[in-house]
Subunit: 318 residues, 2 copies
């Protein structure tokens, strides 16, 4: 047992930007085994808190991958290191068919000072999985300056990104317009920065004004962060430097701002709740209880067992 602990310790000590292999191994251990994960994450916690965490979200086709790509290149040119966590909320039914975009990221993945990891949210209740945040901590402890969370932008994980990011960028395109605003009211509220991408397309100015008007209609107090709208054409790198400027501005703003602090506290609480409940579930769904559940189906079919009675039985076996 002692030698095993030593093994993790040795691996943890190897965590650094220049040792992608060690990073990948630690992430894989944390993904596969929750008990080991707990040990590792306790151990590395004191090394975390230095990376700045950026969330990029928005509807499909808004160019999130391209923006992530260009943003990363720009940060590299400023001598910064970047880790990317690509969050894929695969459909619980069809599995993820949305991964095509990822291919484009390969050209930056091989660069020094860049690390990319794709993570599925499949099966986790309530959006971003605990593993996603654990992975961010590993990357943080490894010394990356920036961690970018990027979602494919379908469903709940799109909004959950704001719970793990210091600055959240919501990406829209001129065509997004009304439908986005109607369907995804939440998107407006999680954005620290709006990026209106593909601004070489017709309708860009109109969309910009429309978005600006929507934002002005909301009630701000004078001290609130004013969500900027940045026009970009990510494919030609137009506007990318401005995104970096804006999230650095937001970072500075947040340092002593009570709203940002409250948000951090709230996110921390959510994380603790998530860890507690994941652990409870693991203890409850032991072999005996899974068997109890599986073997009760005949009684169920005959209508002789209510789900509440079965639940009681399982809770007693805990």
């Amino acid at each position: 047992m002692a030698s095993r602990t030593n093994k993790y310790m040795s691996l943890i000590n190897q965590l650094s930007i220049s040792n992608k292999r060690a990073i990948a191994r630690v992430i894989s251990i944390v993904e596969a085994d929750d008990k080991k994960a707990t040990k590792i994450l306790k151990e590395i916690f004191h090394k975390t808190g230095n990376a700045y965490r950026i969330g990029i979200t928005g509807p499909p086709g808004a160019g999130k991958s391209t923006i992530t790509n260009q943003l990363t290149k720009h940060l590299l040119s400023l001598s910064k290191s970047v880790a990317i966590i690509a969050v894929d909320p695969t459909s619980p039914f069809s599995g993820g068919a949305l991964l095509g975009d990822r291919v484009r990221m390969n050209d930056i993945g091989i660069l020094d000072n860049v690390f990319i990891r794709s993570m599925a949210t499949r099966g986790s209740l309530g959006g971003l999985s605990k593993k996603t945040i654990d992975t961010a901590d590993i990357l943080d402890a490894s010394g990356f300056d920036y961690i970018i969370f990027e979602t494919v932008g379908v469903g709940q994980s799109e909004l959950d990104i704001a719970k793990v990011a210091d600055s959240t960028i919501v990406t829209l395109v001129p065509e997004s317009g009304d439908s986005i605003q109607a369907m995804k009211a939440g998107l407006m509220e999680i954005a620290d920065i709006f990026v209106l991408n593909k601004c070489d397309r017709p309708g860009a100015d109109k969309a910009f004004i429309s978005l600006q008007t929507t934002l002005h209609l909301r009630n701000f107090s004078p001290n609130d962060w004013q969500q900027p709208i940045i026009k970009t054409t990510a494919t030609t790198n137009k506007g990318i430097a401005e995104i970096v400027e804006k999230f650095e501005e937001h970072r500075t703003y947040c340092k002593n701002n009570s709203t940002c602090l409250q948000k951090r506290f709230k996110n921390y609480k959510l994380r603790v709740i998530n860890i507690v409940e994941t652990s409870l579930k693991q203890k409850t769904w032991n072999e005996l209880n899974i068997k109890t559940l599986e073997n009760s189906m005949e009684k169920v079919l005959s209508g002789n067992l209510s789900p509440y009675e079965l639940a009681d039985k399982i809770l007693q076996n805990k």
Copy 2:
């Protein structure tokens, strides 16, 4: 304590289609108090299993409320009773602004043999709340012939409807077309019946053929249920009778079909899991643990407490 139990028992014994007040009270008790809910649901379980449960889902603007309305009127004309559970997946950020549609339902809500209840999914992880299914059981035990679940059609609850319904109707409009198919692959898979509504609009035939082609491209075994597509114009009642025919056909098909049986088992299991985990959470988040969480924020701010250590502390207090 005995008199309290007698009080519930008396209320439970009053559950019947003609006593909407008793139904509403029992639902309110179940919504407000989980311990009482468990008792009540154990008590009524032997009366459940007779109602046929229909889910209606689809994108916003597809006319789900109008279809529910017309479908209910048609079932009433066949001397059936109908309970409607309107599931409103309010945004965790903005609160529900999507309830406008409900107003239209008021004209059937006052009829005999009809009961309508709106339920929010707010705050519940993973879509449809436990309360929604509990409510369906209460309505089932009250003697309704049909229970219709209708979602506003945003987010996960849209897909979760299939986990509680015997037949799931997915409503589309000619305009839905490609974007729906791309974004909501899950919708295709949960549908037992497709309704192409607003077929008086241009593009209806094209949309019908496009949907038909998409369905034919999927691999079916000869014994599989063939998802029908029904063209409707709900506002003029066109196609409504055909929807009823089709879900009755599906109901008959399912009686001895192993796939349907497996689905029922799976849904039952999910329900038990849901009950177990809700109960665990209630026990864990006692006053002491909520305080422990709230009071740890200073240590967190100074970086002296990892979320894993705090989670351990809470798990020990359980």
